[in-house]
């Protein structure tokens, strides 16, 4: 091997190693910062609803060898449920919409208009999430609270999780809707490209055997979308799980309570970390900050888990 080749190999390896290494460093850093909280909380952290900074105007006490404020406890089941439930609702709403939009853009729009509409969808994908949040806060919540949820809850009364009380507009479904709107352009833009990548020969073959336009979409194009759909849904789920500002503004920021129905206020892990950091910084024992780091660690692991599950779900033959 020539010296220049060796140098090239070393540099490229170094650059390539930066990505997995930074993940590892992030994990180690979170683990280090969360360690006192992990020892104090134990497994209850994941299975109970008890985020409580304790009596801030009392004097610190020692529990399990850790200094904490009296009465403090840190457990986040309600955050895990809120995060997963809002992301799941978002995906349930966004996938059909996104697939529909992609097919419409790729197949039903006249060629001249297509690039402009596609550009619009892609622009929508780059709107900052806080703008979606603001719109949800100012426009969507009053609309849903006064004119939609009361009727929806009445029609669906008797259906578990969908019936009354209709709540205040701040909550799980509102968060799901706004998250879905943020995910639709992501899904639509990616799937449109996948549809346009369908070989022309396949379409022509379909036409040759007398298939209608709809049959070509259903029998030739849709089956080929399965793999890209799983990929892009995972991406969208990642965005929904980690979304912070928009959810903070519209979720109702519930504390220590599981949602009773889809109109109930919730909190998510990411938005809770933001909203509670300042309060946590006032804890003279620092245990609240360690607790926030533990939420961060849990969120990171949850995202990794979701990605891993998506990998497993992906059909073997297709992943090549």
């Amino acid at each position: 091997m020539r010296p220049s080749d060796a140098l090239f190999r070393v540099t490229v390896t170094l650059f390539a190693a930066v990505i997995p290494l930074s993940l590892l460093v992030l994990l180690l850093f979170l683990l280090h910062d969360a360690w006192p909280a992990i020892r104090f909380n134990g497994v209850d952290f994941l299975f109970k609803n008890a985020w409580n900074l304790g009596n801030q105007y009392g004097n610190p006490v020692t529990v399990h060898g850790q200094q904490v404020m009296p009465g403090a406890s840190f457990a986040i089941l309600f955050l895990i449920v809120g995060t997963l439930a809002s992301s799941l609702i978002a995906l349930l709403l966004a996938v059909p919409l996104g697939v529909g939009a992609a097919i419409f853009l790729a197949e039903a729009v006249p060629a001249g208009l297509r690039s402009y509409l596609a550009l619009l969808v892609e622009l929508l994908a780059s709107v900052p999430s806080v703008v979606f949040g603001l719109w949800g806060y100012v426009v969507l919540i009053p609309l849903l609270a006064h004119h939609v949820y009361p009727h929806l809850a009445r029609w669906l009364s008797g259906v578990p999780f969908l019936g009354p009380p209709p709540g205040s507009g701040y909550g799980l479904l509102t968060a799901g809707i706004v998250l879905a709107l943020m995910c639709v352009p992501l899904i639509a833009a990616n799937l449109r490209e996948a549809i346009e990548a369908t070989p022309q020969a396949l379409r022509e073959a379909g036409l040759a055997v007398g298939a209608t336009r709809f049959e070509i979409v259903r029998k030739i194009i849709l089956p080929r979308l399965r793999l890209p759909l799983i990929g892009v849904s995972t991406l969208a789920l990642g965005r929904a799980l980690g979304e912070t500002m928009a959810v903070l503004m519209i979720s109702g920021n519930a504390l220590n309570i599981l949602p009773g129905n889809i109109y109930s206020p919730i909190s998510t892990m990411a938005s809770f970390m933001v909203s509670q950091l300042d309060s946590a910084l006032q804890d003279p024992t620092n245990m609240a900050v360690y607790g926030i780091a533990e939420i961060g660690l849990a969120l990171l692991l949850l995202s990794l888990l979701v990605n891993a599950v998506a990998r497993v779900l992906m059909p073997r033959g297709l992943s090549a």
């Binding site: 609803n49 008890a50 985020w51 409580n52 900074l53 009596n55 801030q56 105007y57 009392g58 004097n59 610190p60 404020m69 009465g71 806060y137 919540i141 009053p142 609270a145 006064h146 009380p165 709540g167 205040s168 507009g169 701040y170 909550g171 903070l248 503004m249 109702g252 920021n253 519930a254 504390l255 220590n256 309570i257 009773g260 109930s264 206020p265 909190s267 909203s275 509670q276 300042d278 309060s279 910084l281 006032q282 003279p284």
Partner: protein, 359 residues
């Protein structure tokens, strides 16, 4: 000759450029000569700071003051970390926090109070009578509906609706939460034992309860969600009135139902100000006296005793001294707009003594 004249011709613009650059540098150093002070924290104190700063900086062009409304929690945290010079807070630091940060001064600059507001369609022009026990019951789930027997008993003749109560609390660390939860702790034993008080508390898990960010968030949550109840700092009274929200009469220690006005807040202050210790960390919640309004407090500015340089220390002292002076920031022209009270003379003397410690 032509060859030699060229550089001479070039020299003129070059010199102009150099002069321009020098001018810019001079302007830059002139800008650096203005001292920048930063304030963040309490959304209750924020409207007052926004009245103060333009008036003060007009008279003192050498100082620039930036303000931000982020919640008392942020004000406390960032002033302790030294990120801002003024941390605005409606709550004083706890003993444990003072032990950890002994260099912090809790400097009162005015007296404030807190309303309990609601959005009850058709009843917002009625001042409902509430006491600490019923409000605590609403916030911890013992009272779920507006037509609960306890509420009916306090408000005979008012046609209260059979509708779920939507309680709104602050999500951010907040001095308003401190005042409110302390009022509930002092009036309701169950609340005192189970929840207690602080800038953020362990809100009981009540279905439908929502969290809002800052006083502006509280007001818009009230506006958005009918049948809701929330606690709002008095500097937002103009806002709650504009939005047509209801304001409750609260039962004081003497058993009378009172609202915020020119009599009830000074009455409560008169009962509590003489008890103020030298470090001025004192709760004025649930003051004795027939006329006293039960939720009043000192508005604090958190300042580090030791500043990085003498110039900054002097600027901070000058501003705070102006802020608490009856001819300066404590003039009624400022305070009336946000419904605050000026510091009484005895409290002002303690505050000036604390300001004198900044160096």
């Amino acid at each position: 000759m032509t060859h030699r004249s060229q550089p001479t011709r070039l020299r003129a613009p070059r010199f102009a450029l150099l002069a321009a650059a020098a001018g810019l540098l001079a302007a830059g150093s002139a800008a650096a000569a203005t001292l920048t002070l930063n304030e963040t924290g309490s959304s209750l104190l924020y409207p007052l700071f926004n009245l103060w700063v333009p008036a003060y900086t007009k008279a003192h062009p050498g100082v620039q003051i930036n303000t931000a409304s982020t919640g008392s929690g942020t004000g406390i945290a960032q002033s302790i970390e030294g990120l801002v010079q003024f941390g605005a807070s409606d709550a004083y630091l706890s003993d444990a926090q003072m032990k950890k940060n002994p260099e912090m001064l809790n400097i009162p600059v005015a007296i404030s109070s807190q309303m309990i507001n609601y959005n009850l369609p058709g009843l917002n022009n009625v001042h409902l009578k509430l006491n600490g026990t019923t409000v605590a019951g609403m916030y911890d789930g013992r009272i779920r509906y507006w037509d609960n027997a306890a509420l009916k008993q306090l408000n005979p003749g008012v046609n209260l609706p059979h509708h779920l109560i939507v309680t709104v609390h602050r999500t951010d660390g907040s001095g308003d939460t401190f005042m409110f939860s302390q009022f509930l702790s002092f009036t309701d034993k169950t609340w005192a034992q189970k929840v207690g008080y602080g800038t953020s508390v362990n809100w009981p898990a009540v279905p439908g309860a929502i969290g809002a960010n800052g006083n502006p968030g509280m007001v818009s949550a009230l506006r958005n969600a009918p049948y809701s109840i929330a606690y709002v700092g008095v500097s937002f009274k103009n806002q709650t009135e504009k939005d047509g929200l209801g304001e409750a009469m609260l039962q004081n220690r003497a058993g009378r139902f009172v609202m915020i006005n020119e009599k009830t807040v000074p009455a409560a202050a008169a009962a509590m100000v003489p008890k103020t210790p030298r470090d001025e960390r004192i709760s004025m919640i649930y003051a004795p006296g027939a006329e006293s309004y039960p939720i009043i407090n000192y508005e604090y500015v958190m300042v580090k005793r030791d500043q990085p340089d003498a110039q900054q220390a002097a600027a901070i002292k000058q501003f705070l001294t102006w802020a608490v002076s009856p001819q300066g920031g404590n003039a009624l022209g400022f305070l009336k707009q946000v419904n605050f009270l000026p510091l009484p003379a005895s409290a002002r003397a303690l505050t000036l003594a604390q300001i004198g410690q900044i160096r």
